[in-house]
Subunit: 378 residues, 2 copies
Amino acid sequence: MNSPPFRFERLHQDAHCAARRSVFHTPHGSVQLPTFMPVGTLGTVKGLTIDSVRATGAEMILGNTYHLALRPGERVVAELGGLHEFSGWQGPILTDSGGFQLFSLAQLTKIREEGAEFRSHIDGSTLQLSPERAIEIQEALGSDVAMVLDHVIELPSDTDAIRDATERTIRWAARCLASATRPSQTQFGIVQGGLDPALRVACAERLSDMPFGGLAIGGLSVGETPAEMYQIIEVTAPVLPEDKPRYLMGVGRPQDLLEAIRRGIDMFDCVMPTRNGRNALAFTDQGPLRMRNQIHTHDKRPIDENCPCPACRHSRGYIRHLFRAEEMLGPILVSAHNLTYYARLMADARAAIEADHFTDFFHERMRGWGEIHSPSAN
Amino acid sequence: MNSPPFRFERLHQDAHCAARRSVFHTPHGSVQLPTFMPVGTLGTVKGLTIDSVRATGAEMILGNTYHLALRPGERVVAELGGLHEFSGWQGPILTDSGGFQLFSLAQLTKIREEGAEFRSHIDGSTLQLSPERAIEIQEALGSDVAMVLDHVIELPSDTDAIRDATERTIRWAARCLASATRPSQTQFGIVQGGLDPALRVACAERLSDMPFGGLAIGGLSVGETPAEMYQIIEVTAPVLPEDKPRYLMGVGRPQDLLEAIRRGIDMFDCVMPTRNGRNALAFTDQGPLRMRNQIHTHDKRPIDENCPCPACRHSRGYIRHLFRAEEMLGPILVSAHNLTYYARLMADARAAIEADHFTDFFHERMRGWGEIHSPSAN
């Protein structure tokens, strides 16, 4: 069941696979699904103005609770009008919960049933993050979608540790729901369970019974192989409610997105398009281009002739020059290109689902990228 | 006399000072004067897309011959269509000659009558820069306005050294004119002469007799006081032809621009708005704001309520946060703000000249900046 201001509208189910076409309505506007959310960790998608982010085709962005709680602090964001006003992004915003930092900053973290205690990666000060506190921060930030605090651990881990983290994730999810005070914010639950299909299914079933606005699959892209990740998506997605958005957290490469969409996933986020963009790697339908490479020096062609982004109004030779000269414009342009690439990929995927030929689209793109796709998918 | 595709159109002379309102027509469009040219050293105004640069109100930009000759090399720029096509800037472009690097990279430079020899500041390789070569590079770059190679030296220097450099500058200017092969490019001569009024006047007279498309005052802002600089402008500008644009190179602060305009200068360039922008210093009519300052933490006001730039759609608190978090967007936004500030200052100056009240405008702005203006000006 969605919270009142939120509505998940199913438009079409592909006839040949689990890919689905839907719309997620929020207080800050509607999002066409499947969608990719650019990551705006600290209230900015790195290197891009809000107009530039919107011009990529993005409809919803992500902010990071842990990072914003440290800098500038959620109270400052709230005083400055909340995350929408602060960042200038007037569309829907999803905030993560800090759960991923339990994994990525594990050496700085102590976890108890009550919650997690971080030593700040910036100044060593202490940040307490309980389920209630994670929601309190996200309510102060004013995001449309708050993620529950989950317990993310590295893979592989032993079964007991995974079971323990999964059960804690379920208890924490209930505490997050119980602490909600803002009707204009919905919460998404997060399925954990490592690479154990039974744990994943059990967790998904438990969370599906709770009144979340959507469900996420978390704890992936943390050390397992792509095949292992696809397998977990394949067993988990069918257990999730059909009438709520499904969000695969922190994933990933273009091929990962298509592999997940055909298994029924609707939403994604990842730093890859912007981080890779800053490192001169540009995504194309023929695979990534490394823009520092000498081969581009005299190349008059844009990165992608069909791309409407500001980078593709320039030659590859110019883009290469910018990176060689360490000009800020190189990272700016290729970040914009990559986000545009991801947004166009999602738009093309949506059109393919509507036409019931997502599977053909999938194979065509995989061939372009030089990928052997994973054989199993419903 | 202007080269055929170039035309200098005088619109109005302020009734109470030497400030003048004119238009400079070039093959890539017309420029309303007085104007400020953002510096695009390496084929990019640092941190800004071409659309962003245009949105600041800039009409003409500057590229650096020395830097582009080293990276990516003028041949590469030419192969990629010339500097307009390379950078994406379709408006007028002025290129400097490398003369300023004779001063700024003096330790890497040997100067003979034939020309200068640089050791590259990047890899130590050798770059020869004669007057003919400076024009050859600028013709390959395809700028609308090429600057002659001049001999810039530090101030103070002894009289013999200044006289020697000034006379060399005149000889080099003639060689530059003689080596021109492209009718679609005009050349500007550069007046040198240090802080010696007689040398400046003599140099200006000599260059005024040559068929340049415009005249520049160079060798300032290299160690002298503002008062000394204004004095040199005041004695030099009246000697320059009334029917050609007058360009003060590498200057400077907003107050310097107004001081120069009321002495008859039409064109400016400086890295200050972008360099200061990257360092979190934002220009306003009340003087500069240091955006890292804690005082801005909770401030909901934009840098300037009347500014149309993308930075001023955000709170000061947000801008401060970006710099504190070392986000690229901080430098991007404040660079855009500062260039917008400079462009608006020039637009306001033009309107003031047209209304014959530039002097009032000058005093009003100086008061806002907390400046005591220099007493002498025609």
